[in-house]
Amino acid sequence: MWIYEKKLEYPVRIKNPNPKMAKLIITQYGGPDGELAASLRYLSQRYIMPIPEAKALLTDIGTEELAHFEIVGTMVYQLMKGASPEEIKAAGAADYFVDHGRGVYPQSAAGNPFTAAYIQSKGDPITDLYENLAAEQKARSTYEYLIQVADDPDVIEPLKFLREREVVHFQRFGEALMKVQEYLESKKYF
C-alpha cells in the first residue's frame, strides 16, 4: 500500500503565473515521457522482476515518480493560478482553458490526453529494463527542452532537480539490468 506524505519532494514556489509555460510543462504530467507514464510503467513492470534488487528498485523509483508527478502538477497549478482569461488567451492557452479551466489535466504539450499506450510492460525483465533506460533518457531530454524555453528561476530550479533525478534513475536501472543479466546467466549454467 502507499502512505501519502503531505509535502513536496522538492519545493515549488512560483510567484508569477505563466499559462504558456503551464501548457508546456504539463507534458511531464501526462505526456509520453511524463511522470505519470514513468510511475505506471515501473509499478506495473515490477511484478515479474526475478531478483529482489530489481523488485525493490522498480517499487522505489515508481514511488519517487509519483512524487515527481505531484511536483509537476503543482507547477502547472501555480502557473495557471491567478492568470486572467485575457492573459491565458494572449499566452496561447485558451484551448486548454476552455477544456480544463485552471485545473490540472494529464495531457501532452500538444494536447493529447494521457494514454497507457505510452508505456510497455512486456513480461520480460531484460526488455522492460531496457525500456526504462530509454524512458529515463527521454524524460531527461524533455526536461532539458523545458529548461531551454523557461526564463523564470522559480520554474527552472524544480525542472533542474527533476532532470537530475532522471540521470540517477538511469544509473540505477543500468545496475539492475546487469544484476538481472548475471542472474539469468547463472540460471542457464547451473
Binding site: I3, P11, E53, E70, Q78, R172
Partner: protein, 85 residues
C-alpha cells in the same frame, strides 16, 4: 500566510529525506555496501526526529495511522503541498 519557521523546518526535512531517498535507491542495487547502509540509518534517525518535531508543532505529515492528531482532526489543515506557503 507564510509561516517561515514551518517552511524552514519543512526544507530541513526535505534535505535530509533527499539523502535517504538517494541512499535507498543506491542500496537497492548495492545491498552489501555497509558504509552506505550506515549513512542511510544515520539520516533515517535524523529524519524521524525532525518529522516528530514538525508533527508536534504543525500537525500530521502522513495519514492512515502514521501520526496522531490533535482535536479537531488536523490532517485536513491548509496548506496542502501545492499551495504557496
Amino acid at each position: 500566510m507564510r509561516n517561515n519557521e514551518r517552511a524552514r523546518l519543512l526544507d530541513e526535512i526535505r534535505a535530509i529525506e533527499f539523502m535517504t531517498i538517494e541512499l535507498n535507491l543506491y542500496l537497492d542495487t548495492h545491498p552489501d555496501d555497509q558504509k552506505a547502509l550506515n549513512d542511510y540509518n544515520t539520516y533515517t534517525k535524523q529524519l524521524m526526529a525532525l518529522k516528530d518535531e514538525y508533527q508536534k508543532r504543525y500537525g500530521p505529515l502522513s495519514n492512515f495511522g502514521t501520526a496522531v492528531s490533535e482535536y479537531p482532526w488536523a490532517w485536513i489543515n491548509n496548506p496542502w503541498p501545492w499551495e504557496l506557503d
